[in-house]
């Protein structure tokens, strides 16, 4: 208790209570104090510095799809801990905590729906679920998403946000890379578009499999995208990393992505691109 609160308990504690929690928010980049309702309306892009904050999988999908007729795919798949993995914590316990914290079953959410009436399948990573790591459930759900795309001749869209493969599932996780790449090959053979949207961060086994296999690669501004993490690269080469290394703008310059799109324009851009790619369907 501060000295002020000791002297004036009723005034200070009372005024605190009057402010609803989360009314104000702080931009992690420029530290500007932001009105939460406004931030929400802006889809969590800072109005002061344009920083694109990390947002949940469900919010990503909801802000892309038309409101009605959203159907979730394989919502109940859960991991089984095939290695009985234990580090400082048991995988089972980490998993349960992640489920509780995020209210998700695993790190990927998949829905079928429409964008301005056009049928699509959307997958999105929940980064808060164990760093968006890809284990068996993520791989399987991605496959089911692509299978739904094939069945219904609907384009596939994936929002990536992941640290890479989930170590706790050992080689099973690694094999999700080939599993998801295969299903994209089968999707490509059917000439159904896959749009990969790279958000902050997309690294490791996710970046080195389906995230880099899109017909179109769209990144959000300033997202970290790469194979090895910048710290690992720095330790390996023992020199300072170039300015903006592994950021969206760097990838655009190096030819790895098609475009960087502001979050507020994403839905419109995706719809335009897909309308063109699907003109024969």
């Amino acid at each position: 208790m501060s000295w002020l609160e000791k002297i004036l308990p009723s005034i200070t504690s009372g005024s605190k209570k009057n402010i609803p929690e989360g009314l104000w928010s702080k931009c992690p980049e420029c530290e500007a104090t932001l009105y939460y309702e406004e931030l929400k309306d802006l889809n969590y892009v800072c109005p002061k510095c344009d920083y694109h904050m990390r947002i949940s999988a469900r919010l990503r999908i909801e802000s892309l799809l038309d409101e009605d007729a959203q159907e979730e795919i394989a919502p109940n798949l859960v991991a089984v801990d095939p290695l009985k993995f234990k580090d400082q914590k048991k995988y089972k316990d980490r998993y349960a905590i992640a489920q509780k914290d995020t209210n998700e079953k695993d790190a990927l959410v998949v829905k079928k729906g429409t964008i301005n009436g056009m049928s699509v399948v959307v997958a999105a990573f929940e980064f808060k679920f164990m760093g968006g790591s890809m284990g068996s459930v993520v791989g399987e759900k991605f496959v089911r998403a692509a299978q739904m795309s094939i069945e219904t001749n609907s384009p596939l869209i994936c929002f990536s946000a992941s640290g890479g493969a989930r170590m706790q599932e050992g080689l099973f996780s690694l094999m999700q890379m080939s599993k998801t790449s295969l299903i994209l090959k089968l999707l490509a053979d059917k000439k159904i578009p896959f749009i990969s949207i790279l958000t902050d961060p997309t690294m490791g086994g996710v970046s080195a499999s389906f995230a880099m296999l899109g017909d179109i690669h769209i990144a959000e501004p300033n997202a970290l995208i790469g194979f090895a993490g910048p710290r690992v690269v720095e330790q390996t080469v023992r020199e300072e990393l170039p300015e903006g290394f592994q950021r969206s703008e760097f990838l655009l310059e190096k030819g790895a992505i098609d475009m960087i799109v502001h979050r507020s324009e994403l839905r419109d851009k995706i719809h335009r691109v897909l309308s063109a790619l699907m003109h024969k369907s």
């Binding site: 580090d87 400082q88 791989g139 050992g170 996780s173 080939s178 690269v233």
Partner: protein, 316 residues
């Protein structure tokens, strides 16, 4: 301490040095018995040590400084080999060796990761850590193999794809992803052998195969034991514990159905009897190739797809 032996092999090293000393004695008549006794003892000791190796000890054997590398096998396993270079776009990556080979008289496309033994070789081959141009060279050769109906044989031996600035600039992720994508439906048989270290995506990028074999004391993992230890245990020195947790040995992986066959190693590991190791590898490859050639490409692709889709454990 003999640096050609790992710490847990030192008792064997001591016996072997005694045997070597006896060998150098000119008048051998008197010592034959003693020498045979020592050899027996060394064998028994080796058998004992190797019958209860920990997963960490196996990880060390997989990276043993005297373990055979890709180039130590090529000339003996194959009847002939013509190396092909470059990705036709940027450069030639010496961490991946590729070319046309003949196995028992039949042409195959060979691709293998090479670590390098001397300091100079290690630098040349970048310690077996490929850059994007290495994976793109591999893909070029694999497409050529498909075009000319040649089976593909790959040897995996890498700590991982190279985490360098240039590698990232030139699209390391895309290069790996592209290989996984193309290999999944490539219309020719693919056989992969982990001969030492199967380091994560850098290994898988030449390891999507109809048959995956592993030498007994090789490892295949989503992350190195050291990497896992430093991330999850916050201490790279706990690599031994991480190695146990990751289930990265051939025995574990065969049990889980993630690989198809284990190639036994000579007593004490490949480095103790390279000739035998080469013979065993050649025989295993010959057999797998004969089996695979007996089924049609359509069936082969169907099986490959079903296998790739089956990977993963979950419940509803």
């Amino acid at each position: 301490m003999n640096l050609d032996y790992l710490d847990f092999e030192q008792p064997i090293a001591d016996l072997e040095s005694k045997i070597e000393a006896l060998c150098n004695i000119k008048d051998k008549v008197d010592i034959v018995e003693e020498m045979n006794a020592l050899k027996d003892k060394s064998n028994t000791l080796t058998k004992k040590i190797f019958s209860s190796l920990s997963d960490w000890q196996i990880s060390q054997l997989a990276r043993h400084p005297k373990r055979l590398y890709t180039l130590d096998y090529i000339n003996d396993v194959f009847d002939e080999f013509t190396e092909l270079h470059g990705d036709r776009a940027y450069g030639d990556d010496h961490a991946i060796i590729g070319g046309i080979a003949k196995l028992d008289g039949n042409p195959v496309m060979f691709i293998g990761q090479q670590k390098g033994r001397t300091t100079q070789e290690k630098l040349k081959h970048n310690f077996g850590m490929p850059r994007p141009e290495g994976y793109r060279k591999a893909l070029r050769l694999m497409k050529m193999a498909e075009k000319f109906s040649m089976p593909i044989i790959t040897f995996i031996d890498t700590p991982g794809a190279y985490p360098g600035i240039g590698a990232e600039e030139r699209g390391q992720s895309e290069a790996i992803a592209r290989n996984l994508f193309e290999m999944s439906t490539l219309k020719t048989p693919i056989i992969s052998v982990v001969i030492g270290e199967g380091g994560s995506g850098g290994a898988l990028a030449i390891g999507v195969a109809d048959k995956v074999m592993m030498f007994e004391y090789s490892i295949y993992s989503v992350i190195s034991p050291e990497g896992c230890a430093s991330i999850l245990y916050k201490d790279a020195a706990k690599a031994d514990i991480a190695a146990e947790s990751l289930k990265l040995t051939s025995k574990h992986l065969k049990k889980e159905g993630l690989i198809d066959e284990i190639i036994s190693e000579p007593l004490g590991g490949i480095h103790r009897d390279p000739e035998k190791a080469r013979t065993l590898l050649k025989a295993a490859l010959g057999k797998q190739l004969a089996d695979i050639n007996s089924i049609s490409i359509a069936e082969l692709l169907q099986e490959r797809q079903e296998k790739l889709l089956s990977f993963g454990r979950f419940k509803n």
